[in-house]
Every structure is written in structure tokens, then in C-alpha cells.
């Protein structure tokens, strides 16, 4: 039997809505109407409300009293602010990874990085996007700091709706892989400062390279690029 990790309806609904937001199916600024959602999911408004509160807690939604809930919409200024903080958090992950990774984790990281190289050679952009997530997740875990891991992942997810793959992605992933290489090398050397610097550098390049999705209050009907392809190479 399929035993779901999340058991309450609110949890499952939150998961669905979270994915929709992260993948751009629900766009920033878009309204999250309790009644409509209740109808769509075939439940009462109660679990919907719970889910919306949870989304708010992740930073993916914003609700004001008696005014409803909308998908979080941030301007250029705050977007830059968030990038700055995420850079620092990821840099700290890299630093701690350099200090604390076990030999086993180091080897796993090497293999992971090598796999990324293959994907670049094959020009498998989609595969590299998935690999990229794995790579960063490996560093979060490698920090051996559960709170840092959780916090960094949360900020990354919060940033997702506002980043998307740039056009010349094939070109970009080669750069990304090279930057990852600098981080990996520093970690394997146990050079914490260099690892942190390399990661900060990587992230700041990512910020410049990423296409910002302009804040939009338009309805979901708008299509634009295929939402399933929206992602970034960071």
C-alpha cells in the first residue's frame, strides 16, 4: 500500500499548492481563494485554511486579515535581499562541509560531481537541473547542521518562483559545473575559507545569470514558457 509521508489532508494540499507555486503554475500575486480551492480539492474550507497557513509559514504565501491569501510576490529589491542571505547561508554550508564532511560523504560528493560532468558532456540540461539540486542538497547535509540545512533549503524554495532557466542554458551549465568544481576541490582540501568564498562567488554569478520573473498580478490563464521547464542552474 502507498503509505503517504504526510497524512492529513491539509498537509497533502499544502504539498500540492507548494509545488504549483514553485513550478510557476500559480504565479506570484495570484489569489488563493479558500472557497474555490475547497471546491477543487473536494474538501471543506477548514483544511484549505490550514494549508494556506502552512504556505505562509514557508514564505510562499501571504495573507492579510479579511483580505485573503495570495502567492508571495516580491519586488526586485527584496529579491536581491533574499539572494544575499541565501548566498551567505550556502557559503556557510560549504564552509562547514569542508570542516565536517566524513570521508564517505567526500567520496559521495566526488561521485556526484563527476556525474554532473557527464551530464554536461551529454548536454542533458534537464538532467543537470536535477543534479544541481542534488549537489546543493549534499552540501546542506554535509554541513552536519540540521538547522542550517533546513533554513537554507527553505530560502532556496522560497526563491524558486522567481528564478528560471536562462535561454542559453547549455552554455550556463558548463559554467555552473566549473564553479561547483572549485567548491568541491576546496572541500576535499579541507579549506573552509576557500570553500565558502567559492560558493559565494558561484551564487553571485547565479544571481546575475538568472532570468528574473517579473512580478505579476495577472491571472493563471497566461501561459508563457512551459511551467514544467522553469528552473534555474545554481
Amino acid at each position: 500500500m502507498t503509505k503517504h509521508p504526510k497524512r492529513t489532508q491539509a498537509d497533502m494540499i499544502r504539498e500540492v499548492l507548494s509545488d504549483r507555486i514553485v513550478h510557476g503554475i500559480l504565479r506570484p500575486g495570484e489569489a488563493l481563494d479558500e472557497t474555490s480551492l475547497a471546491a477543487e480539492f473536494g474538501v471543506s474550507r477548514t483544511p484549505i485554511r490550514e494549508a494556506l497557513r502552512q504556505l505562509e509559514s514557508i514564505g510562499l504565501a501571504l495573507s492579510r486579515p479579511h483580505r485573503g491569501t495570495i502567492v508571495t510576490n516580491v519586488g526586485e529589491r527584496e529579491l536581491h535581499d533574499i539572494f544575499r542571505v541565501m548566498g551567505e547561508l550556502e557559503a556557510l554550508c560549504a564552509r562547514l562541509s569542508a570542516e565536517a564532511m566524513t570521508p564517505g560523504e567526500c567520496e559521495a560528493l566526488s561521485h556526484l560531481h563527476a556525474h554532473g560532468a557527464e551530464l554536461v558532456l551529454r548536454g542533458d540540461v534537464g538532467g543537470y537541473l536535477a543534479h544541481n539540486e542534488q549537489f546543493h542538497d549534499a552540501l546542506y547535509a554535509g554541513s552536519h547542521n540540521g538547522f542550517l540545512e533546513e533554513t537554507t533549503r527553505s530560502v532556496r524554495r522560497r526563491l524558486a518562483p522567481f528564478r528560471r532557466m536562462q535561454f542559453e542554458a547549455l552554455h550556463r551549465i558548463a559554467h555552473s559545473q566549473r564553479e561547483h568544481g572549485a567548491v568541491v576541490a576546496a572541500i576535499l582540501d579541507g579549506d573552509a575559507d576557500r570553500a565558502a568564498r567559492a560558493m559565494l562567488e558561484h551564487l553571485s554569478i547565479v544571481e546575475r545569470a538568472v532570468d528574473r520573473i517579473s512580478p505579476s498580478h495577472r491571472a493563471a490563464g497566461e501561459d508563457g514558457a512551459d511551467p514544467l521547464l522553469r528552473a534555474d542552474v545554481g
Copy 2:
């Protein structure tokens, strides 16, 4: 007319419960029973549930499906993890403050710091505790990064239930003031690296100096030190 900033009952109840947790009236591990709270506040369980979800979103409470909600209780290990992240966030605040503070803010910071010196001379421990909060808040704001400000304040609040004023507080505040001085000097010099290092140093000293409140599943009846005096000098 007293126009409250938060309007819904859930918001007000969250505020009350949040204060109780931060001030140690509700201890880590303690159960937050919906029915009892509903009776105490004279409302139905619905707004209570909303408030508990909001507390969970701040990280002050933890609820598991069908098992109820308790005040967040973290072990030594995770406490250290959170301290590490907070140190880095505050250091970033100091760094950005050194880069971005306006002349007006610099002057205000100087005055604030001078005020702290007076409090130390007078031996006003309680006053210094309040001053300390103001000092750190000033640096959060001085970073001119709204997301960083919000994030750092959130982590600090989350840490509050597990820190308390040490016995030799009078001795400690003198040290704290001196450490603040190093940060202020670096900021006024516009030396971002030095400001960040000084703040990181300050925070790591704070972590060592602070009395950890041992995780407790005991009921609230336990008194211990006066909850209203629980605070830390950081």
C-alpha cells in the same frame, strides 16, 4: 482609540502565547492543549488552532498530526546549530551595516552605544537587557536588507526560550558593552570584514556565557527563576 495592530483573535492569541513562550512562562516540551486554551481565552477551538499554526510557523511550537502541539524543545546539539547560524546572520548584519549605514544611522548607533555605557556604569542590568535588544535591532535595520532583518529577528526570537541571564550578569554586561564597542568602531570605520568578525566573536562569547535552560517536559507549575527576568545579554 486603541487600534490594535493585529486584528483577528487568532493573531492576538498568538501574540500572547508567543510572549509566554519567549518569557519562559510556557516551557519547552509543554503541551499546548487546544481545548484548555479555548476555555482560558473564552473562544472556540478554531482561533486557537490558527494561533498554534502560526506559532509553529515561527518555530516556537511543534505539532504532529493527531498528537497535539507542544512548545518547541530542542536538544543541546540543535541549540548549538541554531547559535551557529544566528552568529553568521548577525555577522552579515554587521558587515552590511558597515557598508550601508547612512551618516544619520551611524550617529544614532553611536548615541545608542553611549547610552549602553551609561547603563553599565550605573549597573542597571535590566536596562541593559533592553538596550541590548535595541542595539541588535539597530544593526538588523542598518543592514538595509529587509529579508535579513526579518530572518535574523526570527532566529533570535526562536532562541529566546533557551537562553537566560547568567548569574554574574553585572559582570557580563561590561564585557558585552566592550564587545559592542568593537563592532561599532568597525562599522563607523566602514570596515565590513572587521565588523563581521567582531560580531561573530561577540556572539560566540555569548553562546559560551549563556546559561542553557535544560530541556524540560515538566508542567508549568514549576517556578524556578522569575520568568520575567529571564533574558540574555548578547
